[in-house]
C-alpha cells in the first residue's frame, strides 16, 4: 500500500540524520535536567508533598516524559511543508496524484513520529534514572494504555498542525499564525507545567480544547493520575478529539481546494 511505503520512506529518511539525532537527544535531555531541578525547587519551596495530585517523583517523571515524547508529538519542532506547498503552488501537482492529501502527510508524519519515539524519546527517558528516581506504571495494561494515548496524541497533534498549515489557503503569509499556534500548544497542552498545576479557571478553559489531549493526557495515563472512570473519560475524550479534528481537517481541506487559485501555473 502506498501509505505504508510513505511511512517507511519517511522513517528511513530520518535514519540518515544520525549526528542530528544524537545532538537532539543531548539537548532534550539537558533541558529535562534543568526542568527537573526547577520542580525539585518548587516542591521544596511549596512545603507540600503533592501539588495537583503530583508527588515530586511524579513531577520529575513528568519532565522526563515531556522531553521524551515532545519530539514525536512535535511540540519541540513544527512543520510548514503543507503551507509551503500551498504558497508555492506545488500543491497542484500533488492534487493530481492518486492519494488522499491528508493521508499522504499523515503517513509521513507517523513515520517521523515512530522514528522519534524509538530513537529519540526512548534514549532520553532511559538516561533519566541515572540522575533521578522515576515513577513507573503499575501494570502492563497501564503501559499499553499509555502507548495508545501517545498514538492518539500524535494523531491529534498532526491534525492541529495540518489545520494550521491549511490556513495558507486563506492567508498569503500564515507563518505568524503558525508560530502563535505552536507557542499556544506548548503552554496549554501542559508541556511547560502540568495542567493539574493550572488555576481552576484555566484548567476549565483548556479542557474545552484539544490541546491537553496532545501532552497532558498521555502523561496522566502513565502516572496513574487518570484512574478508573477518569481514565476512560481521558482516553474517550482523546478519541473524540481525534475523530472530530480529522473531520474538521477534511472539511477545511475541501473548502481550501475549492477556493485555490494558482497563479501562472
Amino acid at each position: 500500500m502506498i501509505y505504508i511505503a510513505l511511512f517507511q520512506k519517511s522513517f528511513q529518511r530520518m535514519m540518515t540524520y544520525r549526528a542530528a539525532t544524537i545532538a537532539g537527544i543531548a539537548t532534550n535531555f539537558f533541558f529535562g535536567l534543568l526542568r527537573a531541578y526547577l520542580f525539585i525547587a518548587v516542591f521544596e519551596a511549596s512545603g507540600q508533598a503533592q501539588i495537583g495530585g503530583y508527588t515530586l517523583r511524579d513531577a520529575i517523571t513528568y519532565t522526563a516524559l515531556t522531553q521524551a515524547i515532545g519530539t514525536p508529538i512535535a511540540i519541540l519542532s513544527w512543520w510548514w511543508e503543507v503551507m509551503r506547498a500551498i504558497r508555492s503552488g506545488e500543491i497542484v501537482s500533488d492534487l493530481t496524484k492518486p492519494f488522499h492529501y491528508f493521508g499522504f502527510w499523515l503517513a509521513r508524519d507517523v513515520g517521523r513520529a515512530t522514528f522519534h519515539f524509538i530513537f529519540r524519546g526512548l534514549p532520553i527517558f532511559l538516561f533519566f534514572p541515572f540522575f533521578f528516581e522515576l515513577t513507573l506504571p503499575s501494570s502492563v495494561t497501564q503501559w499499553g494504555l499509555f502507548f495508545l494515548s501517545v498514538v492518539l496524541a500524535v494523531f491529534i497533534s498532526f491534525c492541529w498542525r495540518f489545520l494550521v498549515n491549511l490556513s495558507a489557503f486563506w492567508f498569503l503569509d500564515a507563518m505568524g499564525i503558525g508560530r502563535f499556534a505552536w507557542l499556544v500548544m506548548t503552554f496549554l497542552s501542559g508541556f511547560i507545567v502540568p495542567v493539574a498545576f493550572f488555576p481552576e479557571w484555566l484548567k476549565f478553559a483548556v479542557a474545552l480544547t484539544p490541546l491537553p489531549a496532545m501532552i497532558n493526557t498521555p502523561i496522566e495515563v502513565y502516572l496513574g493520575i487518570a484512574q478508573g472512570a477518569g481514565l476512560w473519560m481521558a482516553l474517550g475524550s482523546q478519541l473524540a478529539w481525534a475523530i472530530g479534528m480529522a473531520l474538521l481537517c477534511a472539511w477545511v481541506y475541501r473548502r481550501g481546494v475549492q477556493k485555490l487559485i494558482i497563479q501562472g501555473g
Binding site: A23, V42, Q48, G176, R179, F187, I192, V193, F197
Partner: protein, 264 residues
Amino acid sequence: MLSLYFVLIGARLRSQMQYKFSFIADFLATFIGMGLEFAGVLVLFTHMPALGGWTLPEVALLYGTAELSFALANMTAEGFDGFAGVIRLGEFDRLLLRPRSVFFQVLASEFALRRLGRVAQAVLVLSAGLWLLRAEWGLERWLFLGWTVLGGTVFFIGLFVIGATFSFWTVEGLEAVNIFTHGGVTMASYPLNIFAEWLRNFFVFVLPLAFVNFYPMLFLLEKPDPFGLPGFMPFLAFPLCSLVLLVGVYFWRVGVRHYQSTGH
C-alpha cells in the same frame, strides 16, 4: 566600517518591512507566545512563596534580563545563528573573495527584526518586576542594570559566534550548541542556586553564565551570595562576558583558517 554596517543593515531592515502584515503578525505571535512561557513561571508561583529564596518580582528580573540580553544578541547575531546554511550551500567561498573581514560580513548579513517581539516581551517582564519591587534606585544602579543587559548581550553574541564556528568542521549535530545558547538563557532565567552543584559549577567557573545576570542581580537586590564567593564578583560581570566574545572571535579566526570548501 561602521557606516558600511548601517548601510547593509538598513537594506535588510527595509526588505523585512516590505511585508508589513507578516511583520506585525510575527511580532504579536512572538510577543504573546513568549509571554506564555513566563505564564508557566506564574503558575508555579501560585504553589509557592519564593523559588530558591527569590520572590516572584525578583525572578521576573532574572527572567527579564536573561531574555532581553538573549533576544538582543539573537537579533544582531542572526547571521551567525544561520551560518551553517552558508557553509552547507558553499556560499562561504564568495565571502572570502570580498575585501572585508568575513566576521564583519557575516555580522552585517542579517538583522532579525522579527525578534523584536521577544525583546518587547522581555522588557515587559523586566518592567513588571521593577514596578512590583518599587525599585527606588539611584542613577548608578540603573546604569548598572543597563550595563548588565549589555554584558549579557555580548555574552550571548559570543556563544552564537562559537556555535557558528563549529560549522567549519561539521554542519550536522549543530543542535547540540543549543545546550549552551537556549539552555543558557533558560538557566539564567531562574536563580542559579536551584540547580545541581555540578551544573552550577560549570556555569559559574567554565562558562561564566552566572555573570550574565545572577551576580549583577545579587548586587542590585542586595541579596547574600548563596555560594559565598567574594563581594566583588558582580563587578566582574562585564569583563567576563566580553571575554566570552573575545574567545568567540579568536575561535572564529581558527575556524576560518581551517575552512575547506564543500567543493563546488
